[in-house]
C-alpha cells in the first residue's frame, strides 16, 4: 500500500474541519465580537469546495455531451472511428423535411396537450379527495402512487403483454362476452396513441397527485375556517381558495409534465420496439432519433436530431418560465420583480 490513501484522509479531515469552522463562523447567533473575520480567500474557496464537484459532474455529463452532439451533428458519420465527412447543415435540412420526423413532432405535441388535459383535472380531484380524512385513504394513496414508482421498463413490458392481440385484456373482454370490444390495442394506428395516453396517465398521475397534496398542505387552515364562517359552500371554497393557492404547484407540475412529454422515449421503445412506433402512430422525436440514428448507423444524423430536440425543449422551457412561471419565480430566475 502506498501513502496515497493516508494523504487523502488527512485532506478529508482538514476539509471537514474547515467546513465545521466555516459553519461556526456563519452561525449568526454568536455575539459579533466573537466572530472571527473572514479571510479574503475563504469565500471563493467555500464556493469551490461546496459547488466544485457538482459543477465538474454537470460539465462532464451534461454540458460536454451537448457540445459533442452539436459537433457530430455537422458530420455524416457511421459511428466507426472519428467523423471525417463534414456536411454542414445538411442533416438539419433533411430532418426538417422528413415527414416521419414531422409526424413524430406532432405526436409529441399531442402528448403534451393530452397529458395536461387528462392528468391535471383528474389529479386535482384525487388530491382533494385524499386530502380529507376518510377510510382507506392510505390504501388509495399507495394504489395511485405505485405506478409512478415502478420502472418504465417493467410497466412497458407488462402493458405490452396485456394489450397484445392474444393478451390478457382481449381475453378478459371475450370471456365477459364483450368480444366486440376486443381490439388490436397496440398496432391499430387509430387507437395506439390513446393506448399510450392511457398508460402514461396511469403511470404519471401519481406524481401529480403527490405534488398537489403537498401544495394543499401548504394552504393555511384559517382561510378555510374564515370561508366556512362566511357561509361558503364546499365547491365555492375549492374554487375561490384552493385552486388559486394551488397555482404555483399547478404551474410547476405542468412545466415538468410538458418537458417530460417532449422527451418521452422509454415507454414507446419498450412497447413498440425499435421499428413499429412510426407505423402504429406513436413515434416520438426521441424514438425517431434512435430509429434513424443508432439503428441505421447514422450517428451524425442522430446527433443532429438530438440537437433539434434540445432546441425545441429549451425554447419551450424558456418561454414557459418567462410567461407562466414569472409570478412564482420573480426575483429568482427573472431579473425584474413581476408586477
Amino acid at each position: 500500500m502506498s501513502n496515497a490513501p493516508q494523504t487523502t484522509s488527512t485532506e478529508r479531515v482538514s476539509t471537514a474541519e474547515l467546513a465545521q469552522h466555516d459553519g461556526s463562523v456563519a452561525r449568526a447567533s454568536l455575539p459579533s465580537k466573537q466572530r472571527r473575520r473572514r479571510t479574503a480567500w475563504s469565500g471563493p474557496l467555500e464556493i469551490a469546495i461546496l459547488a466544485g464537484p457538482a459543477i465538474v459532474f454537470f460539465v462532464a455529463f451534461v454540458i460536454l455531451p451537448v457540445a459533442m452532439a452539436a459537433y457530430y451533428g455537422f458530420y455524416r458519420w457511421n459511428g466507426y472511428g472519428p467523423p471525417t465527412n463534414f456536411v454542414g447543415l445538411q442533416n438539419y435540412v433533411v430532418i426538417l423535411q422528413d415527414p416521419a420526423f414531422l409526424q413524430a413532432l406532432s405526436h409529441n405535441a399531442f402528448i403534451v396537450v393530452a397529458s395536461l388535459v387528462l392528468q391535471g383535472p383528474a389529479a386535482i380531484l384525487l388530491a382533494l379527495l385524499l386530502n380529507r380524512r376518510m377510510r382507506g385513504q392510505s390504501v388509495i394513496r399507495v394504489l395511485i402512487f405505485v405506478p409512478y414508482v415502478i420502472s418504465e421498463v417493467v410497466v412497458g413490458t407488462g402493458w405490452s403483454l396485456m394489450l397484445q392481440n392474444n393478451g390478457a385484456l382481449n381475453g378478459w373482454l371475450r370471456n365477459l362476452g364483450l368480444g366486440a370490444l376486443a381490439h388490436d390495442w397496440l398496432a391499430d394506428p387509430g387507437v395506439a396513441m390513446w393506448t399510450l395516453m392511457g398508460i402514461l396517465t396511469w403511470k404519471y398521475i401519481g406524481f401529480a397527485v403527490i405534488l398537489f397534496l403537498a401544495g394543499l398542505q401548504g394552504i393555511p387552515e384559517e382561510l378555510y375556517e374564515a370561508a366556512s364562517l362566511d357561509g361558503a359552500s364546499y365547491w365555492q371554497i375549492q374554487r375561490r381558495i384552493t385552486l388559486p393557492l394551488l397555482g404555483p404547484t399547478l404551474r410547476i407540475w405542468a412545466f415538468l409534465s410538458v418537458i417530460g412529454a417532449l422527451q418521452l422515449f422509454d415507454l414507446v421503445y419498450i412497447i413498440w420496439g425499435q421499428y413499429v412506433a412510426s407505423t402504429a402512430g406513436t413515434s416520438t422525436m426521441a424514438s425517431y432519433m434512435v430509429t434513424n440514428g443508432r439503428n441505421a448507423g447514422n450517428y451524425g444524423y442522430g446527433n443532429a436530431v438530438a440537437v433539434v430536440i434540445f432546441i425545441i425543449s429549451l425554447v419551450v422551457a424558456l418561454v414557459y418560465q418567462r410567461f407562466v412561471l414569472r409570478r412564482d419565480t420573480a426575483g429568482a430566475l427573472t431579473e425584474r420583480k413581476a408586477r
Partner: protein, 428 residues
Amino acid sequence: MKARKFLRGAAILALGSIALSACGGPSGNSSDGKVSMTLWENSTTGPGLEFWKSAVADFEKANPNVTINVQAIQNEDLDGKLQTALNSGDAPDIFMQRGGGKMTAMVQAGQLMDLTDKISPDTKKVVSAGSFKAETYQDKVWAMPIAVLPGGLFYSQDLLKAANITGAPATISDLEADVEKLKASGVAPVALGGKDAWPAAMWFYWFSLRECDAATMQKTADSKDFSDPCWLKAAQDLQSFADKKPFNDGFLTTSAQQGAGSSAGLLANHKAGMELMGAWDPGVIASLTPDQKPLKDLSWYPFPAVPGGKGDPAAIMGGVDGFSCSVNAPKECVDFLNFIASTPQQVAYYKAFNAPPVNSEAQKSVTEPYLQEILKAYNAAPYVSQWLDTVLGQNIGNALNVAVVDMLAGKSDPQKLIQTANDAAKKG
C-alpha cells in the same frame, strides 16, 4: 450527527464504487503471462449459452494461462452495444460478426484484427474457401465463419398435414393456396415477427432475390439506387401476397424470438404453420417449445419460385455467422477462433444451436432431415446472396425494414417503399 453519518456512508459508497470499477481492469496480457479476454455472443438461454461456456472451459483447460469471460447479449441489443464498445476503445476481444456493411465499416475504422495469415492449416482443411468469402473484405479475412445460415420456410409437418397440404410449394401461387388451406384448418398460416421489422423485411428480400438477377443486386448495393424495375416488382409481389392476409393476427407487435407469443414461439407451440427465417430458427424454436426440446415435426423448404422473375429460382439468401477479434486483442484470440472452427467444437455447436455448422467434417454428423435439406439446397445453389440488409448496409437496410412494416400495415404502397429506400441515402 445523522447527516454526518449519511455523508460518511455516501463517501464510502463512492470510494467503493471507484474501487470496484478498478477491479474490472483492462483485458489483455498481464505481467505474469496470464491472458484474459472477453467474448460477446448473442445466445442468452439454454444450450446455446451452454455451448459457449463449455467451449471456453475446454479452451481454458488446453491453455491454462488464458481466461475468457463470456458475456451473453440479447440479439437485438448486440449491434448497438458492440458499436458503443468499439468506439469507446473498450471493445470485447472476441465478438460476433454479422459481416456485410457493418464489417466493412469496422475494417475502415481500423477496429478489427486481420486474420488472413493467422488461420491455421487445420482450419483451412475443414472450412471451405467459399465460407471465408463472406468474411472477406479487400482480399483480407476479418472473421472466422462458424455457421452457414441460409434462409427458407420452416414449417410444422403436423399442421400442414392437418390442412391437407402435401409437398412443398413450387411457386408463390402454390404457397398462396397453402395459406388458404391453413386458414381453413384454424391456425395462423404464416408467423411473422413484425415488431422487430427485419423478419418482415425478409419477405421483401426474398422476393427481390427472385425478381432481380445477381448483377442488378450487386449494382444496387454499390450505387444505392433502386430504379431498376425489378425492385418495384418485388415490392408489388409482396403487397399482393400480403393482401391474402397470410400473417398471424397482431403481427405488427409480435416479436421474432422472445417468448411463446413471438413468431418462433407460435411455430414452437403449433399456433402457426410456417415461418420465413434463417437457419438459426430451429435452435430458437427449440428453446420455446413447451418442453424446451427441438420441435419434432419441424421441416424446411426453400422459398418458392416467382414466375417471370429474373433471379435464379434456386438462388439462396443467407448469412454466415462469424466471430472477429478486436484489433487490440491478445494473439490468443485467434487461437480461440481456430479452436471453435475445429471439428469437435463444430459438432457441439450444431447440436447446441440446431444450425448447420460451417465445418465440412462436422456437417457429416448432421442428422436432422431439415438441416440436411438446407445444406443440400445451399450446396446446390447457383449463387448465395448475403441478407440484403447486410449487403445494402445498415442505413438502407434499416430504412427498408421500417418501410416494409409500413407497407404490410397498410400505411404505404410499393412505390413509397422504393422511394424510402432511395431517400435513405440522404441520411447516411
